[in-house]
Symmetry: C2
Subunit: 274 residues, 2 copies
Protein backbone atom coordinates (compact mmCIF):
# COMPACT_ATOMS: atom_id res chain seq x y z
CA UNK A 1 0.00 0.00 0.00
CA UNK A 2 2.29 2.74 -1.28
CA UNK A 3 1.51 5.68 -3.55
CA UNK A 4 0.04 3.50 -6.29
CA UNK A 5 -1.74 0.95 -4.11
CA UNK A 6 -3.24 3.75 -2.04
CA UNK A 7 -4.37 5.64 -5.14
CA UNK A 8 -5.96 2.48 -6.55
CA UNK A 9 -7.81 2.03 -3.24
CA UNK A 10 -9.03 5.64 -3.22
CA UNK A 11 -10.12 5.37 -6.88
CA UNK A 12 -12.00 2.09 -6.24
CA UNK A 13 -13.95 3.78 -3.47
CA UNK A 14 -14.47 7.06 -5.38
CA UNK A 15 -15.88 5.17 -8.37
CA UNK A 16 -17.89 2.70 -6.22
CA UNK A 17 -16.20 -0.21 -8.00
CA UNK A 18 -16.10 -2.54 -4.99
CA UNK A 19 -18.06 -2.88 -1.77
CA UNK A 20 -14.97 -3.78 0.23
CA UNK A 21 -11.31 -2.79 -0.23
CA UNK A 22 -8.77 -4.53 1.97
CA UNK A 23 -5.11 -3.54 2.20
CA UNK A 24 -2.59 -6.23 3.04
CA UNK A 25 0.38 -4.46 4.64
CA UNK A 26 3.73 -5.43 6.14
CA UNK A 27 4.00 -3.04 9.09
CA UNK A 28 1.59 -2.45 11.97
CA UNK A 29 1.87 1.37 11.52
CA UNK A 30 0.65 1.07 7.90
CA UNK A 31 -2.79 -0.05 9.08
CA UNK A 32 -3.64 3.34 10.60
CA UNK A 33 -2.00 5.20 7.66
CA UNK A 34 -4.14 3.37 5.11
CA UNK A 35 -7.32 3.92 7.12
CA UNK A 36 -6.54 7.62 7.73
CA UNK A 37 -5.97 8.23 4.02
CA UNK A 38 -9.27 6.49 3.32
CA UNK A 39 -7.66 4.16 0.79
CA UNK A 40 -9.18 1.01 2.31
CA UNK A 41 -12.17 -0.20 4.28
CA UNK A 42 -9.87 -2.51 6.23
CA UNK A 43 -6.12 -3.06 6.51
CA UNK A 44 -4.40 -6.10 7.95
CA UNK A 45 -1.09 -7.92 8.34
CA UNK A 46 -2.85 -11.26 7.89
CA UNK A 47 -2.96 -12.69 4.33
CA UNK A 48 -5.76 -15.11 5.19
CA UNK A 49 -8.03 -12.28 6.42
CA UNK A 50 -7.17 -10.10 3.42
CA UNK A 51 -7.55 -12.69 0.68
CA UNK A 52 -10.18 -15.22 1.75
CA UNK A 53 -13.10 -13.66 -0.17
CA UNK A 54 -11.19 -11.51 -2.65
CA UNK A 55 -12.51 -11.26 -6.21
CA UNK A 56 -9.47 -9.34 -7.42
CA UNK A 57 -6.00 -9.05 -5.88
CA UNK A 58 -3.65 -6.31 -7.05
CA UNK A 59 0.06 -6.80 -6.32
CA UNK A 60 1.73 -3.46 -5.58
CA UNK A 61 5.16 -4.70 -4.45
CA UNK A 62 8.41 -3.85 -6.29
CA UNK A 63 8.93 -5.83 -9.50
CA UNK A 64 11.74 -7.93 -8.02
CA UNK A 65 9.37 -9.34 -5.38
CA UNK A 66 6.22 -10.17 -7.36
CA UNK A 67 6.93 -13.89 -7.76
CA UNK A 68 7.90 -14.44 -4.10
CA UNK A 69 4.84 -12.50 -2.99
CA UNK A 70 2.58 -14.63 -5.22
CA UNK A 71 4.06 -17.81 -3.74
CA UNK A 72 3.30 -16.51 -0.23
CA UNK A 73 -0.26 -15.50 -1.11
CA UNK A 74 -1.20 -18.58 -3.14
CA UNK A 75 -2.34 -20.78 -0.19
CA UNK A 76 -4.85 -18.06 0.77
CA UNK A 77 -6.36 -17.40 -2.67
CA UNK A 78 -9.75 -18.80 -3.77
CA UNK A 79 -9.74 -20.76 -7.05
CA UNK A 80 -11.63 -18.01 -8.88
CA UNK A 81 -9.57 -15.06 -7.65
CA UNK A 82 -8.09 -12.89 -10.39
CA UNK A 83 -4.58 -11.59 -9.84
CA UNK A 84 -2.93 -8.58 -11.46
CA UNK A 85 -0.10 -6.20 -10.58
CA UNK A 86 1.09 -2.64 -11.17
CA UNK A 87 4.75 -3.37 -11.98
CA UNK A 88 6.52 -1.20 -14.55
CA UNK A 89 8.19 -4.16 -16.28
CA UNK A 90 6.18 -7.09 -17.50
CA UNK A 91 8.03 -9.92 -19.31
CA UNK A 92 9.97 -10.95 -16.21
CA UNK A 93 6.99 -10.56 -13.86
CA UNK A 94 4.55 -12.38 -16.15
CA UNK A 95 7.01 -15.22 -16.85
CA UNK A 96 7.47 -15.87 -13.12
CA UNK A 97 3.99 -15.15 -11.73
CA UNK A 98 1.71 -16.72 -14.38
CA UNK A 99 3.02 -20.29 -13.76
CA UNK A 100 2.24 -19.86 -10.04
CA UNK A 101 -1.27 -18.45 -10.59
CA UNK A 102 -2.71 -18.94 -14.10
CA UNK A 103 -5.51 -16.42 -13.40
CA UNK A 104 -2.82 -13.70 -13.37
CA UNK A 105 -2.71 -11.03 -16.10
CA UNK A 106 -0.09 -8.29 -15.80
CA UNK A 107 -0.97 -4.59 -15.72
CA UNK A 108 1.07 -1.39 -15.75
CA UNK A 109 -0.83 1.81 -14.98
CA UNK A 110 1.35 4.67 -16.24
CA UNK A 111 0.76 6.92 -13.31
CA UNK A 112 3.27 8.08 -10.79
CA UNK A 113 4.77 10.94 -8.92
CA UNK A 114 8.13 11.74 -7.42
CA UNK A 115 6.32 11.38 -4.10
CA UNK A 116 5.99 7.96 -2.53
CA UNK A 117 3.97 6.35 0.23
CA UNK A 118 0.29 5.87 0.87
CA UNK A 119 0.03 9.32 2.50
CA UNK A 120 0.59 10.89 -0.94
CA UNK A 121 -2.07 8.72 -2.62
CA UNK A 122 -4.68 10.54 -4.75
CA UNK A 123 -8.06 9.32 -5.96
CA UNK A 124 -7.46 10.93 -9.39
CA UNK A 125 -3.93 9.60 -10.03
CA UNK A 126 -5.27 7.02 -12.49
CA UNK A 127 -7.89 9.28 -14.08
CA UNK A 128 -7.21 9.46 -17.83
CA UNK A 129 -3.94 7.54 -17.40
CA UNK A 130 -2.92 4.81 -19.81
CA UNK A 131 -2.86 1.31 -18.34
CA UNK A 132 -1.05 -1.42 -20.27
CA UNK A 133 -2.56 -4.90 -19.90
CA UNK A 134 -0.21 -7.70 -21.00
CA UNK A 135 -1.83 -11.12 -21.52
CA UNK A 136 0.00 -14.15 -22.90
CA UNK A 137 -1.22 -16.98 -25.15
CA UNK A 138 -2.05 -18.89 -21.97
CA UNK A 139 -4.29 -16.17 -20.53
CA UNK A 140 -8.02 -16.85 -20.06
CA UNK A 141 -9.82 -14.26 -22.25
CA UNK A 142 -12.42 -13.70 -19.50
CA UNK A 143 -9.67 -12.82 -17.01
CA UNK A 144 -8.01 -10.42 -19.48
CA UNK A 145 -11.33 -8.70 -20.04
CA UNK A 146 -12.07 -8.46 -16.30
CA UNK A 147 -8.69 -6.84 -15.64
CA UNK A 148 -9.21 -4.35 -18.48
CA UNK A 149 -12.71 -3.49 -17.24
CA UNK A 150 -11.35 -2.95 -13.73
CA UNK A 151 -8.83 -0.30 -14.86
CA UNK A 152 -11.40 1.33 -17.12
CA UNK A 153 -13.82 1.57 -14.19
CA UNK A 154 -11.19 3.71 -12.39
CA UNK A 155 -11.07 6.14 -15.33
CA UNK A 156 -7.96 4.72 -17.02
CA UNK A 157 -7.58 3.90 -20.71
CA UNK A 158 -6.30 0.38 -21.32
CA UNK A 159 -4.00 -0.86 -24.08
CA UNK A 160 -3.43 -4.57 -24.65
CA UNK A 161 0.04 -5.68 -25.77
CA UNK A 162 2.48 -8.53 -25.18
CA UNK A 163 4.77 -8.36 -22.14
CA UNK A 164 7.81 -8.17 -24.45
CA UNK A 165 6.40 -5.35 -26.61
CA UNK A 166 5.50 -3.48 -23.44
CA UNK A 167 9.02 -3.75 -22.05
CA UNK A 168 10.60 -2.56 -25.28
CA UNK A 169 8.37 0.54 -25.40
CA UNK A 170 8.78 1.50 -21.73
CA UNK A 171 12.54 1.04 -22.00
CA UNK A 172 12.41 4.02 -24.37
CA UNK A 173 9.61 6.15 -22.93
CA UNK A 174 10.19 5.64 -19.20
CA UNK A 175 13.44 3.84 -18.35
CA UNK A 176 15.58 5.87 -20.78
CA UNK A 177 14.50 9.27 -19.34
CA UNK A 178 15.25 7.92 -15.88
CA UNK A 179 18.74 6.62 -16.63
CA UNK A 180 19.52 9.80 -18.59
CA UNK A 181 18.48 12.04 -15.70
CA UNK A 182 20.78 9.99 -13.46
CA UNK A 183 23.68 10.04 -15.93
CA UNK A 184 23.30 13.82 -16.27
CA UNK A 185 23.46 14.36 -12.50
CA UNK A 186 26.54 12.13 -12.25
CA UNK A 187 28.28 13.93 -15.13
CA UNK A 188 27.61 17.46 -13.87
CA UNK A 189 27.74 17.06 -10.09
CA UNK A 190 30.04 14.02 -9.69
CA UNK A 191 33.44 15.42 -8.73
CA UNK A 192 32.27 18.95 -9.62
CA UNK A 193 35.20 21.30 -9.28
CA UNK A 194 34.45 24.48 -11.22
CA UNK A 195 31.42 25.84 -9.43
CA UNK A 196 29.03 23.62 -11.41
CA UNK A 197 26.48 23.33 -8.56
CA UNK A 198 26.10 27.13 -8.47
CA UNK A 199 25.43 27.27 -12.19
CA UNK A 200 22.76 24.58 -12.20
CA UNK A 201 19.40 26.30 -12.54
CA UNK A 202 15.76 25.39 -13.12
CA UNK A 203 16.49 23.70 -16.47
CA UNK A 204 18.91 21.32 -14.78
CA UNK A 205 16.48 20.78 -11.92
CA UNK A 206 13.61 19.75 -14.21
CA UNK A 207 15.72 17.65 -16.57
CA UNK A 208 17.08 15.66 -13.61
CA UNK A 209 13.87 15.37 -11.56
CA UNK A 210 13.60 11.65 -12.29
CA UNK A 211 17.04 10.98 -10.77
CA UNK A 212 15.33 11.32 -7.39
CA UNK A 213 13.84 7.82 -7.47
CA UNK A 214 14.48 4.84 -5.23
CA UNK A 215 17.85 3.31 -6.18
CA UNK A 216 16.83 -0.22 -5.23
CA UNK A 217 13.55 0.04 -7.16
CA UNK A 218 15.41 1.23 -10.28
CA UNK A 219 18.14 -1.39 -9.83
CA UNK A 220 15.37 -4.02 -9.94
CA UNK A 221 13.71 -2.44 -12.98
CA UNK A 222 17.09 -2.39 -14.76
CA UNK A 223 17.73 -6.03 -13.85
CA UNK A 224 14.26 -6.99 -15.11
CA UNK A 225 14.66 -5.22 -18.49
CA UNK A 226 18.40 -4.98 -19.22
CA UNK A 227 18.50 -5.70 -22.97
CA UNK A 228 15.75 -3.29 -24.00
CA UNK A 229 17.24 -0.52 -21.83
CA UNK A 230 20.72 -1.11 -23.29
CA UNK A 231 19.23 -0.90 -26.81
CA UNK A 232 17.48 2.37 -25.97
CA UNK A 233 20.69 3.82 -24.50
CA UNK A 234 22.60 2.79 -27.63
CA UNK A 235 20.05 4.58 -29.83
CA UNK A 236 20.43 7.73 -27.74
CA UNK A 237 24.22 7.51 -27.94
CA UNK A 238 23.93 7.38 -31.74
CA UNK A 239 22.00 10.69 -31.60
CA UNK A 240 24.77 12.15 -29.44
CA UNK A 241 27.44 10.87 -31.86
CA UNK A 242 25.66 12.73 -34.65
CA UNK A 243 25.56 15.88 -32.55
CA UNK A 244 29.27 15.67 -31.68
CA UNK A 245 30.05 15.26 -35.36
CA UNK A 246 28.06 18.40 -36.19
CA UNK A 247 29.88 20.27 -33.38
CA UNK A 248 33.29 19.13 -34.66
CA UNK A 249 32.40 20.30 -38.17
CA UNK A 250 30.73 23.49 -36.89
CA UNK A 251 27.90 22.43 -39.23
CA UNK A 252 25.28 25.15 -38.71
CA UNK A 253 22.61 23.42 -40.82
CA UNK A 254 23.01 20.07 -39.05
CA UNK A 255 22.93 21.75 -35.63
CA UNK A 256 19.79 23.70 -36.48
CA UNK A 257 18.14 20.52 -37.78
CA UNK A 258 19.06 18.69 -34.56
CA UNK A 259 17.30 21.25 -32.37
CA UNK A 260 14.43 22.03 -34.78
CA UNK A 261 13.45 18.37 -35.18
CA UNK A 262 13.51 17.87 -31.40
CA UNK A 263 11.33 20.91 -30.83
CA UNK A 264 8.90 19.92 -33.54
CA UNK A 265 8.55 16.28 -32.41
CA UNK A 266 7.95 17.36 -28.82
CA UNK A 267 5.46 20.06 -29.82
CA UNK A 268 3.47 17.54 -31.87
CA UNK A 269 3.44 15.11 -28.93
CA UNK A 270 2.31 17.83 -26.49
CA UNK A 271 -0.53 18.90 -28.81
CA UNK A 272 -1.74 15.30 -29.20
CA UNK A 273 -1.53 14.89 -25.43
CA UNK A 274 -3.66 17.93 -24.71
CA UNK B 1 13.58 43.68 -25.42
CA UNK B 2 12.55 40.04 -25.00
CA UNK B 3 11.90 38.08 -21.82
CA UNK B 4 15.28 38.90 -20.31
CA UNK B 5 15.57 42.52 -21.48
CA UNK B 6 12.04 43.20 -20.30
CA UNK B 7 12.70 41.59 -16.93
CA UNK B 8 15.90 43.66 -16.52
CA UNK B 9 13.88 46.80 -17.28
CA UNK B 10 11.16 45.88 -14.78
CA UNK B 11 13.78 45.09 -12.12
CA UNK B 12 15.64 48.39 -12.71
CA UNK B 13 12.41 50.27 -12.14
CA UNK B 14 11.28 48.11 -9.19
CA UNK B 15 14.62 48.66 -7.43
CA UNK B 16 14.86 52.35 -8.40
CA UNK B 17 18.28 51.74 -9.94
CA UNK B 18 17.94 54.26 -12.77
CA UNK B 19 15.87 57.34 -13.38
CA UNK B 20 15.36 56.52 -17.03
CA UNK B 21 15.14 53.17 -18.81
CA UNK B 22 15.06 53.24 -22.61
CA UNK B 23 14.35 50.22 -24.79
CA UNK B 24 15.88 50.09 -28.26
CA UNK B 25 13.66 47.85 -30.35
CA UNK B 26 13.51 46.62 -33.94
CA UNK B 27 9.79 46.62 -34.66
CA UNK B 28 7.28 49.46 -34.33
CA UNK B 29 4.81 47.15 -32.47
CA UNK B 30 7.42 46.47 -29.80
CA UNK B 31 7.26 50.06 -28.58
CA UNK B 32 3.71 49.72 -27.25
CA UNK B 33 4.43 46.22 -25.88
CA UNK B 34 7.40 47.46 -23.84
CA UNK B 35 5.45 50.43 -22.52
CA UNK B 36 2.38 48.34 -21.67
CA UNK B 37 4.48 45.84 -19.72
CA UNK B 38 6.05 48.77 -17.88
CA UNK B 39 9.56 47.55 -18.65
CA UNK B 40 10.76 50.95 -19.94
CA UNK B 41 10.13 54.68 -19.55
CA UNK B 42 10.62 55.07 -23.28
CA UNK B 43 11.04 52.75 -26.27
CA UNK B 44 12.34 53.70 -29.68
CA UNK B 45 13.59 52.38 -33.02
CA UNK B 46 16.26 55.11 -33.12
CA UNK B 47 19.73 54.19 -31.74
CA UNK B 48 20.74 57.84 -31.43
CA UNK B 49 17.75 58.68 -29.23
CA UNK B 50 18.23 55.55 -27.14
CA UNK B 51 21.95 55.77 -26.55
CA UNK B 52 22.95 59.47 -26.51
CA UNK B 53 22.94 59.88 -22.72
CA UNK B 54 23.18 56.25 -21.64
CA UNK B 55 25.37 55.38 -18.64
CA UNK B 56 24.93 51.65 -19.16
CA UNK B 57 23.86 49.72 -22.26
CA UNK B 58 22.75 46.08 -21.94
CA UNK B 59 22.82 44.00 -25.12
CA UNK B 60 19.97 41.47 -25.11
CA UNK B 61 20.28 40.15 -28.68
CA UNK B 62 21.07 36.49 -29.50
CA UNK B 63 24.74 35.56 -29.00
CA UNK B 64 25.42 35.27 -32.73
CA UNK B 65 24.51 38.95 -33.24
CA UNK B 66 26.31 40.71 -30.35
CA UNK B 67 29.34 41.87 -32.39
CA UNK B 68 27.29 43.16 -35.33
CA UNK B 69 24.97 44.95 -32.94
CA UNK B 70 27.91 46.58 -31.15
CA UNK B 71 29.32 47.80 -34.48
CA UNK B 72 25.93 49.39 -35.29
CA UNK B 73 25.61 51.03 -31.87
CA UNK B 74 29.21 52.27 -31.56
CA UNK B 75 28.74 55.58 -33.44
CA UNK B 76 25.97 56.54 -30.97
CA UNK B 77 27.77 55.65 -27.71
CA UNK B 78 29.35 58.27 -25.42
CA UNK B 79 33.02 57.66 -24.54
CA UNK B 80 32.17 56.81 -20.91
CA UNK B 81 29.27 54.43 -21.65
CA UNK B 82 29.62 50.98 -20.11
CA UNK B 83 28.47 48.05 -22.23
CA UNK B 84 27.45 44.60 -21.06
CA UNK B 85 25.27 41.78 -22.38
CA UNK B 86 23.14 38.87 -21.20
CA UNK B 87 24.41 36.18 -23.59
CA UNK B 88 24.65 32.60 -22.38
CA UNK B 89 28.09 32.02 -23.95
CA UNK B 90 30.94 34.36 -23.23
CA UNK B 91 34.35 33.57 -24.83
CA UNK B 92 33.11 34.14 -28.38
CA UNK B 93 31.06 37.23 -27.46
CA UNK B 94 33.83 38.81 -25.36
CA UNK B 95 36.50 38.11 -28.01
CA UNK B 96 34.48 39.87 -30.71
CA UNK B 97 32.80 42.71 -28.75
CA UNK B 98 35.65 43.88 -26.47
CA UNK B 99 37.91 45.00 -29.36
CA UNK B 100 35.01 47.11 -30.70
CA UNK B 101 34.17 48.68 -27.31
CA UNK B 102 36.84 48.30 -24.60
CA UNK B 103 34.40 49.43 -21.89
CA UNK B 104 32.52 46.14 -22.47
CA UNK B 105 32.43 43.43 -19.78
CA UNK B 106 30.35 40.32 -20.46
CA UNK B 107 27.56 39.15 -18.17
CA UNK B 108 25.35 36.08 -18.04
CA UNK B 109 22.39 36.23 -15.68
CA UNK B 110 21.27 32.64 -15.13
CA UNK B 111 17.59 33.34 -15.29
CA UNK B 112 15.16 32.14 -17.87
CA UNK B 113 11.89 30.53 -18.59
CA UNK B 114 10.45 28.39 -21.36
CA UNK B 115 8.35 31.47 -22.13
CA UNK B 116 9.76 34.18 -24.37
CA UNK B 117 8.96 37.75 -25.30
CA UNK B 118 8.68 40.97 -23.36
CA UNK B 119 5.03 40.22 -22.47
CA UNK B 120 6.27 37.39 -20.21
CA UNK B 121 8.86 39.59 -18.46
CA UNK B 122 8.84 39.57 -14.64
CA UNK B 123 10.39 42.05 -12.20
CA UNK B 124 11.56 39.17 -9.96
CA UNK B 125 13.15 36.98 -12.65
CA UNK B 126 16.66 38.06 -11.55
CA UNK B 127 15.94 38.07 -7.81
CA UNK B 128 18.39 35.71 -6.12
CA UNK B 129 19.69 34.50 -9.49
CA UNK B 130 23.38 33.96 -10.12
CA UNK B 131 24.93 36.36 -12.63
CA UNK B 132 28.33 35.48 -14.07
CA UNK B 133 30.55 38.48 -14.90
CA UNK B 134 33.45 37.64 -17.19
CA UNK B 135 36.23 40.26 -17.39
CA UNK B 136 39.48 39.77 -19.32
CA UNK B 137 43.01 40.99 -18.55
CA UNK B 138 42.21 44.06 -20.64
CA UNK B 139 39.10 45.01 -18.62
CA UNK B 140 39.10 48.29 -16.66
CA UNK B 141 38.58 47.25 -13.00
CA UNK B 142 36.17 50.17 -12.46
CA UNK B 143 33.99 48.93 -15.32
CA UNK B 144 34.01 45.38 -13.97
CA UNK B 145 32.94 46.66 -10.56
CA UNK B 146 30.21 48.86 -12.02
CA UNK B 147 28.76 45.91 -13.96
CA UNK B 148 28.83 43.70 -10.86
CA UNK B 149 27.16 46.39 -8.73
CA UNK B 150 24.47 46.82 -11.37
CA UNK B 151 23.42 43.14 -11.22
CA UNK B 152 23.64 43.13 -7.43
CA UNK B 153 21.34 46.15 -7.29
CA UNK B 154 18.69 44.05 -9.11
CA UNK B 155 18.91 41.35 -6.42
CA UNK B 156 21.28 38.99 -8.27
CA UNK B 157 24.40 37.35 -6.85
CA UNK B 158 27.46 37.89 -9.05
CA UNK B 159 30.36 35.52 -9.68
CA UNK B 160 33.49 36.68 -11.49
CA UNK B 161 35.24 34.17 -13.75
CA UNK B 162 37.05 34.10 -17.10
CA UNK B 163 34.98 33.80 -20.30
CA UNK B 164 36.58 30.41 -21.00
CA UNK B 165 35.93 29.01 -17.51
CA UNK B 166 32.34 30.25 -17.81
CA UNK B 167 31.79 28.49 -21.11
CA UNK B 168 33.22 25.22 -19.83
CA UNK B 169 30.92 25.27 -16.78
CA UNK B 170 27.73 26.22 -18.67
CA UNK B 171 28.48 23.58 -21.31
CA UNK B 172 27.93 21.08 -18.50
CA UNK B 173 25.23 22.74 -16.40
CA UNK B 174 23.08 24.33 -19.11
CA UNK B 175 24.00 23.26 -22.65
CA UNK B 176 24.31 19.55 -21.81
CA UNK B 177 20.78 19.32 -20.28
CA UNK B 178 19.45 21.09 -23.37
CA UNK B 179 21.12 18.84 -25.95
CA UNK B 180 20.19 15.77 -23.89
CA UNK B 181 16.53 16.76 -23.75
CA UNK B 182 16.62 17.16 -27.53
CA UNK B 183 18.45 13.85 -28.10
CA UNK B 184 15.90 12.09 -25.87
CA UNK B 185 12.95 13.47 -27.84
CA UNK B 186 14.57 12.47 -31.13
CA UNK B 187 15.34 8.95 -29.86
CA UNK B 188 11.87 8.25 -28.45
CA UNK B 189 9.57 10.13 -30.83
CA UNK B 190 11.63 10.17 -34.07
CA UNK B 191 10.15 7.44 -36.26
CA UNK B 192 8.12 6.12 -33.31
CA UNK B 193 6.33 2.95 -34.39
CA UNK B 194 5.35 0.98 -31.29
CA UNK B 195 2.95 3.34 -29.57
CA UNK B 196 5.77 5.27 -27.88
CA UNK B 197 3.90 8.60 -27.88
CA UNK B 198 1.04 7.03 -25.87
CA UNK B 199 3.45 5.70 -23.27
CA UNK B 200 5.26 9.00 -22.71
CA UNK B 201 4.05 10.43 -19.42
CA UNK B 202 4.90 13.28 -17.05
CA UNK B 203 8.46 12.00 -16.47
CA UNK B 204 9.19 12.22 -20.19
CA UNK B 205 7.47 15.60 -20.38
CA UNK B 206 9.62 17.14 -17.64
CA UNK B 207 12.89 15.54 -18.74
CA UNK B 208 12.38 16.93 -22.25
CA UNK B 209 10.99 20.37 -21.34
CA UNK B 210 14.19 22.11 -22.49
CA UNK B 211 13.84 20.66 -26.00
CA UNK B 212 11.17 23.31 -26.57
CA UNK B 213 13.68 26.11 -27.14
CA UNK B 214 14.35 28.19 -30.23
CA UNK B 215 16.32 26.06 -32.72
CA UNK B 216 18.19 29.02 -34.20
CA UNK B 217 19.13 30.35 -30.75
CA UNK B 218 20.50 26.95 -29.73
CA UNK B 219 22.26 26.49 -33.08
CA UNK B 220 24.09 29.76 -32.35
CA UNK B 221 24.93 28.74 -28.77
CA UNK B 222 26.28 25.41 -30.08
CA UNK B 223 28.35 27.20 -32.73
CA UNK B 224 29.71 29.61 -30.10
CA UNK B 225 30.75 26.84 -27.66
CA UNK B 226 31.30 23.66 -29.71
CA UNK B 227 34.38 22.19 -28.02
CA UNK B 228 33.18 22.50 -24.43
CA UNK B 229 29.76 21.05 -25.38
CA UNK B 230 31.39 18.13 -27.22
CA UNK B 231 33.55 17.44 -24.14
CA UNK B 232 30.51 17.48 -21.86
CA UNK B 233 28.63 15.12 -24.21
CA UNK B 234 31.64 12.77 -24.26
CA UNK B 235 31.69 12.69 -20.44
CA UNK B 236 28.01 11.83 -20.39
CA UNK B 237 28.51 9.08 -22.97
CA UNK B 238 31.19 7.59 -20.71
CA UNK B 239 28.59 7.40 -17.91
CA UNK B 240 26.20 5.66 -20.33
CA UNK B 241 28.94 3.24 -21.41
CA UNK B 242 29.39 2.30 -17.75
CA UNK B 243 25.67 1.76 -17.37
CA UNK B 244 25.45 -0.43 -20.50
CA UNK B 245 28.31 -2.51 -19.19
CA UNK B 246 26.48 -3.01 -15.86
CA UNK B 247 23.30 -3.95 -17.80
CA UNK B 248 25.21 -6.46 -19.96
CA UNK B 249 26.71 -8.05 -16.85
CA UNK B 250 23.41 -7.83 -14.91
CA UNK B 251 25.62 -6.35 -12.18
CA UNK B 252 23.14 -5.54 -9.40
CA UNK B 253 25.69 -3.75 -7.20
CA UNK B 254 26.94 -1.52 -10.03
CA UNK B 255 23.35 -0.70 -11.10
CA UNK B 256 22.35 0.21 -7.56
CA UNK B 257 25.46 2.40 -7.20
CA UNK B 258 24.62 4.15 -10.50
CA UNK B 259 21.15 5.17 -9.30
CA UNK B 260 22.07 5.73 -5.63
CA UNK B 261 24.95 8.09 -6.45
CA UNK B 262 22.74 10.08 -8.84
CA UNK B 263 19.99 10.40 -6.24
CA UNK B 264 22.44 11.39 -3.52
CA UNK B 265 24.27 14.02 -5.62
CA UNK B 266 21.01 15.59 -6.70
CA UNK B 267 19.58 15.56 -3.18
CA UNK B 268 22.69 17.32 -1.85
CA UNK B 269 22.44 19.94 -4.62
CA UNK B 270 18.73 20.52 -3.93
CA UNK B 271 19.35 20.97 -0.19
CA UNK B 272 22.16 23.47 -0.84
CA UNK B 273 19.91 25.28 -3.29
CA UNK B 274 17.05 25.66 -0.81
Amino acid sequence: MGLLGGSVGLAIKAHGVSGHVCGLVRREESIAECLNVGAVDEATLDPQAALADATLVILCTPVGQMADMTRQLKPHLSPGTILTDVGSVKADVVATVEPIWPRFVGSHPLAGSEKTGVTNARADLLEGALCAVTPTEQSDPAVVEAVEKFWQSLGSRTLRLSPEAHDSVVARTSHLPHVLATALVRTVLGGAKNGEPDFCATGFRDTTRLADGSATMWRDIALANPDAIADAVADLQAELDGLRNALDQKDAAALEEFFAEGQSLRGEWMRRRD
